[in-house]
């Protein structure tokens, strides 16, 4: 996905998403240069300097939003290992496995709020689960409220509504 300034110039391409599972949000993005066979860009984007993550582009104010890793918060400059949640097992508080994390789902229009995970369901097939605002993550597994089971959706369209309903459930925050 391209990184575009509000002035309409494309300045970079997303290389990787730096995600904090504990905070439930994207803390930054690492970048590639734009164009065919272009290499890595040293600069990163922090969540604070992202104007919005949309369906088709990541918007930033201007090129000054790109910062060098040594000037960025420690989380970003040297992300601790175990931040990659893909492949992690999703366990409910009751100890049942729902499946494995395939991908993270970011709320579009926000600057990186993660609202759900795409999972390989233990029962087979792909599903989408809404996330509470915070949850426990170990690096190999994450624990979600029991109620999550009731909110597994087959597609992203269903997930949007499920997130709102799920987060308004008693005992979920």
């Amino acid at each position: 996905m391209p990184v575009v300034t509000l002035g309409g110039e494309d300045v970079a391409e997303i290389r990787d998403v730096i995600y904090s599972p504990e905070a439930g949000r994207v803390v930054g993005l690492s970048l590639n240069k734009r164009g065919f066979l272009a290499g890595r860009r040293r600069e990163v984007l922090t969540a604070e300097t992202i104007h919005a993550i949309g369906r088709d582009a990541v918007m930033i104010a201007d090129e000054t939003s790109l910062i060098l890793p040594e000037n960025s918060p420690p989380d970003l400059g040297a992300p601790p290992s175990g931040r990659d949640v893909t492949g992690n097992q999703v366990l409910t508080e009751g100890g049942a496995s729902i499946g494995q994390v395939k991908d993270i789902v970011v709320l579009t229009g926000s600057n990186g709020e993660v609202v759900g995970y795409e999972i390989d369901r233990a029962a087979g097939g792909t599903g989408y689960i809404p996330l509470p605002k915070q949850l426990a993550v170990s690096g190999s597994a994450l624990v979600v409220p029991d109620a999550t089971k009731e909110f597994i959706e087959d597609d992203l369209v269903g997930l949007g509504a499920a997130v709102d309903k799920f987060r308004s459930e008693p005992g979920i925050q």
Partner: protein, 152 residues
């Protein structure tokens, strides 16, 4: 009276002093922050030159009048070079909202030929008002995300 970019394209550019034809309008470059026409890009043989809006003495229905040939400037910086190369042409450019969603392509731009003020930008079948225009670069035109349909 309003003028459209698509209607104005190809119009003859004439010197007021010599009455000579100096070229034809290739396209128009806007200053998105000021919501104003910034330059006219004029094709002259195979070369493209830029004319700052201030040098246009009249943007008429049949011809664009400029004082004389000295108003035609070779590109002086990167942005003017990009303009002359056609990279800042708006028609056909992709439109992104400030929230990062693709809204389509620019099909036309409506402006006031007296002041050069941009009035609206046509994006596919929709009109984006000039005050929603945030930026116009070589990659995309940026407008405010249209409000969701709401009552009133």
């Amino acid at each position: 009276m309003s003028e459209r970019f698509t209607a104005a394209s190809g119009r003859t550019v004439v010197s007021r002093t010599s009455a000579e034809e100096l070229g034809t309008l290739a396209h128009i470059v806007v200053d998105a922050k000021r919501r104003q026409v910034a330059w006219l890009v004029v094709g002259k043989g195979r070369k493209a030159v830029v004319v700052p809006w201030d040098e246009v003495s009249a943007f008429g229905p049949d011809a664009i009048m400029i004082a004389d040939e000295s108003a035609l400037k070779a590109p002086r910086d990167d942005r003017e070079q990009a303009a002359a190369d056609g990279k800042l042409e708006l028609i056909g450019k992709r439109v992104l909202s400030d929230l990062g969603n693709d809204l389509g392509k620019v099909t036309d731009v409506v402006f006031d030929p007296d002041s050069g003020a941009i009035e609206s930008v046509a994006v596919d079948q929709r009109e984006a008002p000039a005050d929603s225009l945030l930026g116009a670069g070589s990659f995309a035109v940026i407008v405010l995300e249209p409000a969701q349909a709401s009552a009133g």
